[in-house]
Amino acid sequence: MREFRYRRPTDVDEAVALLDADPDAAYLAGGTNLVDLMKLGVQRPDLLVDVNRLPLGGVEPLPEGGLRVGATVRNSELAAHPVVRRDYPVLARALLAAASGQVRNMATTAGNLLQRTRCFYFQDTGKACNKRDPGSGCAARHGQNRELAILDWSEECVATHPSDLAVALAALDAVVEVAEPEGTRDVPFVELHRSPGEHPERETTLRRGALITAVRIPPLPAARRSAYLKVRDRASFAFAVGSVAAVLDLDGDVVRDVRLAYGAVAHRPWRAYRAEAELRGRPFTPELAGQAADAELAAARPLRHNGFKVPLIRAVTVRALTELAESRR
């Protein structure tokens, strides 16, 4: 591992200034991904700026409804929060489906969103990877790509975003609060992550040195009826092969509102706007859910080894929505 300097700033401005001044610096939060990538030689920061003791903890109800989640709130703490369990089951389920108990005790809210892909080629410094080493090529494009993208990939990168939490936040229209050298701003969650295009090394729309300070989850009464279904190769402690976050609001049998997002299908958490448009205003049936998934997945371009993900995501969409529709009867 490359040697590094270590700083533990006490306020956000100091942390942002430290990052801004050093192109090889990195923020350290829970460390569950970064420390591993440093051991693998994939990330080689010369300065770690420890954000764990910044005043960025706590889960607070917002006056207008909804929650404000501090950046350093641990995944386990957020999943156990009574308001999350009652009002946002999709969020609690996504958190609890991820990683292991130990990792959830360490991993933070913001760190989870900024974790790197688990593409095997990205994690192997002996392999070509445009994300790790821009311009080196993509060994995954024609390699062992069963776990990788079916939507929105480029010839330069077919990686997927590994987070479960991010899929739920995409469905909930969360907002990310960001501190930058110029000040603070809000970023709609669905605009946080980028498509790979020609620059897969740029994973978010944040500028260098930006620090996520909190995530706001807007009020959404319909989210009390919500679900996160994750398909994986083991029953526990495994990344998703495909996942669906769903919120369903029915007026009688008619879909008044619906939120759908997919995980492990693209470089970013995938909000399924086309599927939602197919469902909204129509009487819900499992057949309609299937048609909605088809509309979303019409743009899918499976790789050699992951064609199964298209019918898998379709089936999980139908199951998630149908179970939510039946749970109210």
């Binding site: 490359r2 040697e3 270590y6 420390v35 770690l48 386990s76 009574p82 130990q102 360490m106 029953a235």
Partner: protein
């Protein structure tokens, strides 16, 4: 590989840091290379070799210890981040004269074979028992707002971060269930 080490760019006094924390109730002060994990600190600097290095990548759970009472993977934590923190390792689970009820249950239920993963299993199980007592839900909890029971399914899901290559899982589950029942 010399250029990859990057050592030339960092002054000697910036490569290491002074850190003080409590391990099993004892105050410890150390100067450590910033790269030293908590696991290596325990094993190589403090003589506490209970926590094991299985995978060193956060996947096997054999390095599990308790940090501020919560179970964590010590291989993924840089020790210099732990100033003023409190750590409990497997060496700190037992009382001065006798094993803890959890450890006694592991013995009674024959919950290990080679024993390599056992310190991590014990620390993780200690954390699981506290999480259950606090009502934390898991992925297999059916009612997120209901009471959490220490069923076999709950224990198996919560212990998924600890591998046992001898396959002592059924006995580990039994030992944890027995301990949870006594609380």
């Amino acid at each position: 590989m010399q250029n990859r080490s990057g050592s030339a760019s960092i002054a000697g006094d910036e490569r290491s840091s002074r850190v003080a924390f409590t391990v099993n109730g004892d105050r410890r002060e150390l100067t450590l290379d910033n790269r030293t994990t908590l696991l290596d600190t325990l094993r190589e600097h403090l003589g506490l070799i209970g926590a094991k290095k299985g995978c060193d990548h956060g996947q096997c759970g054999s390095c599990t210890v308790l940090l501020e009472g919560r179970r964590v993977k010590s291989c993924l934590i840089f020790a210099v981040t732990l100033d003023d923190c409190s750590i409990t390792t497997v060496e700190g689970l037992a009382g001065p004269d006798r094993l803890s009820p959890l450890q006694e249950a592991f013995v009674a239920q024959d919950a290990f074979q080679c024993g390599y993963c056992t310190p991590g299993q014990l620390c993780s199980a200690r954390g699981v028992l506290d999480e259950l007592a606090e009502g934390w839900p898991s992925a297999v909890t059916e009612d997120l707002t209901g009471v959490v029971r220490p069923t076999d399914a709950e224990i198996r899901e919560r212990m998924a971060g600890n591998l046992c290559r001898c396959g002592a899982y059924p006995h580990i589950v039994a030992a944890i269930r027995e301990t949870a029942g006594e609380r």
